[in-house]
């Protein structure tokens, strides 16, 4: 029996639209340890995720509300967000 952790995942803008929801709580295998690994794991969940992360280099991530890179370890973060490059201002 493999261990899992729960993490809240948020989606914004067209990432949210493609996935069809803005927020979900997922049970994540402990083997998924970095942001990039989480993206790969999400893409395997279905075509809506595949569409959202079709170009993973474009989608940005924030871990506990701070910008992070794909190589960043998830650590003990409780919240991760995925979104397109920001366009405010």
């Amino acid at each position: 029996m493999s261990e899992v952790r729960t993490i809240t995942v948020l989606y914004f803008a067209w990432v949210r639209e493609r996935i069809g929801r803005g927020r979900e709580v997922i049970a994540l295998p402990m083997s998924v340890t970095t942001v990039a690994e989480l993206v790969a794991w999400l893409r395997a969940r279905g075509p809506e995720y595949e569409a959202a992360f079709a170009k993973p280099d474009i989608v940005r991530a924030a871990l506990d509300q701070s910008h992070v890179k794909p190589s960043t370890p998830l650590g003990s973060a409780r919240e991760i967000a995925f979104f397109p490059p920001v366009t405010g201002g």
């Binding site: 948020l10 803008a13 967000a81 920001v86 366009t87 405010g88 201002g89």
Partner: protein
């Protein structure tokens, strides 16, 4: 050093007064107002809707503000960013930098805008007068603008 994310419009005089009233140590106040343009890429806009990441937005704006204060001698700064649906001509964002010296006020206001544009989690979606809509793409020129501040 205050930031606000709000649906309501902002008023320049009121925002500047809140920073400067009763103070005589300020010599220069620069404000930047970004407004919704009526045309984007040849399309006439009916409206623009701003989505954001509550919580992170405030944190990022405060972080950007702290960076400016660490870099220039500033008496006061203010960032107001609107969210929700805006019409052409309406203000989207307001940045104010107040300093004893004009160059510091100009540089800090420009820096705040460049950082805000590339790091604060806001996303714009346009709706054309013909009903067509779409998310605004990030611009490379914004990354280039950021690069001029180094680090």
């Amino acid at each position: 050093m205050t930031v606000a994310v709000q649906d309501a419009p902002f008023a320049l005089d009121a925002e500047v007064a809140a920073l400067t009233v009763g103070r005589t140590d300020i010599g220069a106040i620069v404000t930047f107002t970004g407004t919704v343009r009526g045309e984007a890429g040849g399309r006439q806009l009916a409206s623009m809707t701003l989505e954001h990441y509550p919580g992170m937005t405030q944190a990022e704006l405060a972080r950007v503000e702290a960076l400016a204060h660490a870099r220039w001698p500033l008496q006061a700064t203010r960032i107001v960013h609107r969210v929700g649906t805006l019409k052409p001509g309406e203000g989207i964002v307001l940045v104010i930098a107040a300093s004893a010296h004009r160059q510091a006020a100009f540089d800090a206001a420009s820096f705040l805008m460049d950082y805000l544009k590339t790091s604060a989690p806001f996303w714009k979606k346009e709706v054309g007068v013909d009903g067509s809509g779409g998310w605004v793409d990030a611009r490379e020129t914004d990354d280039q603008a950021l690069a001029k501040w180094g680090g």
